[in-house]
Amino acid sequence: MTVPIHLRHDETFVLNLGPQHPATHGVLRVKLTMDGEYIVKAEPVLGYIHRMHEKLAEGGTFAQFMPNTARMDYLHALAFNHGWALVVEKAAGIEVPERAEYIRVITVELNRIASHLLWWAAFLLDLGGFTPLLYAFDDREKIIDLLERVTGSRLTYCYMRFGGVYNDIDDEFITGTRDFIKRLRGRMPRLYHDLVTHNIILIKRIKDIGIISPEQCRRYGATGPVARGSGINYDIRKNEPYSVYPEFDFDIPVFDEGDSMARYMVRMHEMEQSLRIIEQALDKLPDGPVMGKAPKVLKPEAGYYYSAVETARGSLGHRLVCDGGKNPYKLKLRSPTFSNLSLYGEVAEGMLLADALAFMGSLDLVIPEIDR
């Protein structure tokens, strides 16, 4: 570590990495106090896409909030649907049939791969490479077609209901998913790893950049690939098993270096693990109803409820307080990126601006999920 430098006031200038910036992938503003190319202080300013989701939750009934969940993290919308469905099913005590649980896991894992593919495209776009975007979107369009067959929408899904899912998957979806698995497994080593992961330019840009220590992750509450990149073996699908995840065997990629390269590798391996989950889920898919019986108007018992779900960015928590009425009395959405970004100020201090942008890309931010 070099000797700490004391800077007088007139040796630094303030730069707005503002709302409209290609690298922030949304409207995040970071107020940077700069000393030449070095960052003296980075202070993210939020709220430029705050859309009152928690106020809307209190205004409508439980079912009316389901479309909102997909508009917070639109890259992994099905996990948000799943989280909201889980907490309300816990509160109202609704049973979900076996087949619906399997369909939920299949669609959530497909959506996770689509989210990682888009992160991969956007991350390399930040680092200056445009062609990976075309590969990733080519594969991602395959997933979106599959999910569109089942859910009806391309991005903001409203597919899950309290007690099951909206409609059943058919054989063409199953064969299409198996073809997609074969196709991605064929392309992954050559196209994704040989051309990009082992590319010297990428390694030079993200190796040993933005190192986060496990203690920092714990103090700032960072979860998901950011924590698993720093050696913390925490994945809600394994640590707090929900739905039918215990029936599949998959492992959690954990890397100890804690730099941007580690987070990159965690997400790439997570894609392969998701493929394994989908394959096993398709093999063991039971048949039966996809919709359990749930009362038309839900009036869950008064009390405090919490459900945690593993999204592509970390642990998403729904803190629900019910007062026995038909509207949620209070809903707090614990968004994973909100906590993952809160450590940006501490880690980005003293970094070069170009590295700070590569570091921000490795955090995989979705801004409407931060601002809610």
Binding site: P19, L56, G59, P67, L75, I144, L155
Partner: protein, 165 residues
Amino acid sequence: MGEENVPSSIVQFAQLDSLLNLGRANSLWPMTFGLACCAIEMMCTGGSRYDISRFGAEVFRPSPRQSDVMIVAGTINKKLELAVKTLYDQMPEPKWVIAMGNCAISGGPFKVKENYNVVEGADKLFPVDVYIPGCPPRPEALLEGIMTLEEKITGKRRWPRVHPG
């Protein structure tokens, strides 16, 4: 028909202007102004499947000084309002605005009585040329929006209009 939205210049020939408008219409440089979910559909349109470069609009310029059309893809809220107006002013004059998605058209799913933070529609801030409904609109809808903008600029429609049903 495409005259009134392009302000007058010093030298004016009818023939020259229609030639210029033809050039402007087929090389619309959009500004990367993705706010929320619609930005992902805009990226999909930039991808190779929907391929926005068939209309000459694949050059997404980050800086307002080099862009012709501002695609408002997402929700504008009160904290962002001044930034959006600043960006609109900083764009050089032959500029157009596409309001993509319900949030940009009218506040969309956030136009409720408890709305305290969302600007209900981009046309409250500046004149909008093309509205693309949808939440988010499909990439084909964005392409149709760009074709409609080209029709507005040049006065004639180069691509056949597909009527549903």
